[in-house]
């Protein structure tokens, strides 16, 4: 339970709204949804102004419980002579000075009533007591997200890069050991990218050795780009089919399908939220579930390209996939039908595959042939691509605050720069690779048209992620939150990362939740 109380002074028009501001900050830190905060704010602000305008002064206190927020507004008189009138819209006894400031609309109590779930008022000459109750929707169902990161702490030389780099602050380095907080990690590539000693890698799922089946390889665009860099595509494909019996399907087929499906979906649904977020990058989806749950409604309700691809083949086929990040492994595992037979070829292996095959191909490199066609490539203005964790973060925040340019119909958000081309697993320069692949795909697309693959509607809707809260029991979570606040006040607030946590607040959280020792803080030791 969290409580607080603030005094309100009579006639303090200048300070009006300060109490509301403070309560808002508390609610925000508890992770309460913005719609509920808005409701509470209207009620509290009106109540606060009422005390300022009409009373001799008073106090606003709040109690945040596991499922509700209760606000109590108490003043010291002179009381409301006719509550029955005061509760009517438009009735006001405000003095002219207040009216000229825009108050006294006679909407105060009606507004409070409208925005609270339960509201009582009791008034006498000695003072007025107002109770406002708003329920926090706590029965929301949350979803779990796995972490598909493999960590080898022995390799770590404690440079702390991953700790500060992680976009969701999910990494800790305590007692020489790296911890991934499984309720924060969104399986992006950032730690893999920045680590100089290769501590992080994507989890290698056991290969399902089931030979004799027809084999297909779903080839992600960056892998194809890698091929184009070293040899001729047609030639390469031929060798792979002949030698390994692998049929290759570019992932771009399903990327195109997803776009078409989503355009159709937008056309047929007048009332959906814009911009529609294409579920192309699973890491971004996990990120939205974890930190921007209010934006879940913006995501097009289809499976991502990789998940759709592996589910598109008959079950007697064995599907190979080359993931570019842990999130792809995770997403495919979480969304594949049980009878689909998927194996992963890790990026390193896939590059070896290219190098081995290359020796047996003939003809010049695709890259030289293709370079000429990729000048002045046409841009689809309806879709905006945004990539890189910083840019994605800025963009998600601006949708959340509705501060966006208009005309964006759809967005593709990628956690890596230049999308999957920018995954640290691929060795070339990502921008060039993307240009080259785009040119390649423009030429090759038609070849795959007859396959008629379809998008797959997401049956289970995406839900906010479970575990942002500090405790299953919200009441306990609140207690812990105030405890954490206390601890963080004793820390210096430099967010240096030396203790092993990215910020002092995170460290305070871990002291309480993971039993870390406050003496790890280097600044406290100096004192």
């Amino acid at each position: 339970m969290i409580t607080g109380s603030y005094p309100v002074k009579r006639g303090d028009y200048l300070g009006g709204g300060q109490v509301s501001s403070k309560i808002k900050e508390t609610l925000r830190r508890l992770g309460i949804t913005s719609e509920i905060i808005r409701k509470i704010m209207i009620a509290v602000y009106e109540a606060e102004m009422n005390v300022i305008i009409h009373s001799y002064g008073g106090e606003i206190s709040f109690v945040i419980d596991d499922d509700k927020i209760e606000i109590t507004v108490k003043d010291t008189g002179p009381g409301i002579p006719r509550i029955d009138l005061a509760i009517q819209e438009g009735y006001s006894t405000a003095p002219d000075e207040a009216r000229e400031m825009g108050f006294g609309a006679g909407m105060g109590l009606p507004n409070i009533k409208k925005n609270s779930d339960y509201f009582t008022i009791h008034s006498e000459k000695m003072g007025t007591l107002l109770k406002i109750l708003v329920f926090i929707n706590s029965d929301k169902y949350f979803s779990n997200i796995d972490t598909c990161l493999n960590v080898e702490s022995e390799k770590c030389k404690k440079c702390l890069r991953c700790i500060t780099r992680c976009p969701t602050k999910a990494i800790r380095l305590y007692k020489e050991k790296i911890h991934i907080l499984s309720h924060h990690c969104v399986n992006c590539n950032e730690c893999i990218r920045v680590c100089p000693t290769k501590v992080f890698d994507l989890t290698n799922y056991e290969e399902n050795k089931d030979e004799g089946k027809e084999k297909v390889l779903v080839a992600p665009s960056p892998w194809i780009a890698s091929i184009l860099f070293s040899c001729l595509w047609d030639n390469f494909e031929e060798v792979i089919i002949n030698e390994k019996g692998l049929e290759i399907y570019p992932l771009a087929i399903w990327e195109d399908v997803l776009k078409e499906k989503t355009f159709e979906y937008i056309k047929n649904n007048g009332k959906i939220k814009h911009p529609v977020i294409l579920p192309v990058c699973p890491a971004v989806l996990y990120w939205i579930q974890t930190e921007y749950p209010s934006l879940i409604d913006y995501i097009a309700p289809y499976l991502g390209p990789a998940e759709t691809a592996v589910n598109s083949f008959e079950k007697q086929k064995r599907v190979f996939y080359i993931p570019s990040c842990p999130a792809e492994v995770c997403a495919i595992h979480g969304n594949k039908n049980s009878d689909v037979n998927v194996s992963f070829i890790l990026p390193q292996q896939s590059i070896e595959m290219i190098l081995n095959t290359k020796k047996r191909t003939t003809g010049e490199k695709q890259i030289d042939k293709i370079y000429d066609i990729c000048v002045d490539k046409e841009i689809d203005r309806k879709i905006v691509k945004i990539s890189g964790v910083e840019q994605v973060k800025t963009f998600l925040e601006s949708i959340e605050k509705k501060r966006l340019m208009y005309n964006i119909e759809m967005v593709e958000l990628y956690a890596c720069h230049n999308g999957c081309f920018g995954s640290p697993y691929w060795v070339y320069e990502p921008t060039v690779a993307r240009i080259i692949f785009d040119a390649f795909w423009k030429e090759q697309k038609i070849k795959y048209k007859e396959n008629k693959f379809d998008g797959i509607f997401r049956v289970s809707t995406i839900k906010p992620r479970k575990g942002i809260r500090l405790d299953e029991d919200v009441r306990k979570a609140m207690m812990k939150l105030s405890e954490i606040e206390k601890i963080s006040k004793s820390l210096p607030g430099y967010d240096c990362g030396v203790c092993g946590a990215p910020t002092c607040l995170n460290f305070a959280e871990d002291i309480l939740m993971m039993g870390e020792n406050i003496s790890e803080c280097p600044y406290l030791n100096i004192k």
């Binding site: 819209e89 438009g90 006001s92 009216r99 000229e100 825009g102 609309a105």
Partner: protein
């Protein structure tokens, strides 16, 4: 060029609140004023204007009389008390009510040619 109040009433789908003074509906207005601050109306509104406001206080009528406004449109479904309507009838000021907001009412009046 003015527009008849009856035409405004029809085009904007207004509800006429006052009764017994409908002959005033033939009057033409060419200007409007929008404000919820009565002192502002008092200071800046001009004779013959139509006032758009959500203030339903009895003082609105007093201000109308003082500045010789021709009619008032209460917006967002605000309805004044009966004594306000009675007073308006006495002072021969037409009162209308609309469910729309100030912004869209003004926008529509503006499109009809009424200026500020």
């Amino acid at each position: 060029m003015g527009v008849k109040l009856s035409e405004i009433c029809n085009r904007l789908d207004l509800e006429l609140l006052t009764s017994g003074i409908s002959e005033l509906m033939d009057k033409e207005v060419s200007e409007g004023y929008v404000s919820d601050l009565l002192s502002d109306v008092l200071a800046n509104a001009q004779k013959g204007m139509i006032l758009i406001t959500l203030q339903t206080h009895i003082n609105v009528i007093a201000v109308c009389v003082h500045t010789e406004l021709s009619a008032v449109i209460f917006i967002q479904s605000r309805r004044p008390d009966d004594n306000v309507i009675k007073k308006a009838e006495e002072e021969r000021i037409l009162l209308f009510s609309s469910s729309e907001s100030a912004f869209s009412i003004v926008g529509k009046l503006y499109e009809m040619g009424l200026r500020g």
